[in-house]
Amino acid sequence: MRTLSRRLFLKVSASAAATLALSKLSTALAWAEGFYREPPWKRKKPYWGFGVDIEKCIGCGRCADACKTENDVPREPFFFRTWVERYAVYKDGQVDVDSPNGGIDGYPALQDPSALAKSFFVPKLCNGCENSPCVQVCPVGATFKTEDGVVLVDKEYCIGCRYCIQACPYGTRYFHPVLKVADKCSMCYHRLKRGLDTACVEVCPTGARLCGDLSDPGSGISKFRENNKVQALKVHMGTEPKLVYKGMDKEVR
């Protein structure tokens, strides 16, 4: 009888293991890919999202005002958790964007309305990125994404290094001049958790803003995403925002 040499034994078992691993690998990869592509709100409940209907926004700025009241954001015109930008696209291709005091006190008249191609208001706020750059760069774990998908700042733990302010591609963070920490839209987490809408949603007179639970197919936000053609900001950055806009123009940055 031929005896199995140690070398042969090792060779055979190694190749058997490799074959087995390879055949499993493809299933494992397929599973991992499915897991990665599947939105987290299929697995987690609740999971908060936000929507803005640009075609309904009248630029009254009540949202930016209410946000400051609700969240103790300093009144000076440099600090905003949410603000409303006015876009003016002229026939010659020029695009002007302004947001004096976040839109709270209204907007000056456009210089030349007759040369205007189109103009609209775009409310801005935290995009609730799934892959948030601000969370990634925080050196101490003071910015984080909760189990239900909201990006928050732990103001006790923030060291005020401002990396996250630099990292946010949407410019939705500011440095709180009194607390000396980074601050941002919390999607009024304290309200969501009490069953209330965010302050900006509560005061919006036209229903241009909405927040809600993405894991509930019957929620307003799920219907909004399902029934409208929606788009997110700067999708090419791979941040996977959970904030979506309806009726967004290509000029919006």
């Binding site: 009241t69 456009l110 309305p113 205007l116 774990g141 732990d154 209330l196 809408d197 509560e202 005061v203």
Partner: protein, 154 residues
Amino acid sequence: MKDIRHLTHVLAAFVLVTGAFLVIRSLVKPHSYGELGRYRADAVDEIKALPFRYAGKAAQPRCGACHKEQFQAKKGSSHRNIGCETCHGALAAHAEKPAGPKPRKPAESEVVAFCLRCHAKDPSKPPRFPTVDPRGHNPDTPCASCHPPHAPKL
């Protein structure tokens, strides 16, 4: 046998440094750090517990219990979808304790600018939204003298 001392020295240094690291870490690490992820789990509860200032639209029937007239007028009007607090400011505290500071009511002189914030003609506004030209639409009379704010359509 003498050579083993090289090893023991390195080992001792390693144990010392690791031990010091663990001790310092346990001293400076907040106690809930890492429970849910790379952050302080307590922060979530702290943020959850923050006070809220806007009572919200869901509370409007409560406003209506005391302010029947305005509530009923607004219910069927073209301002029905606007929360009381959009115009009157944050009133959660007032709804709890009406005896407290008096809520804001736009003064007569303010009301025109206040209505126009939403209703002034503006090429940036969606065309479907009802707007008026402030210079053409009864410029000398306060809006509220014709349009009751809680049921503005004439």
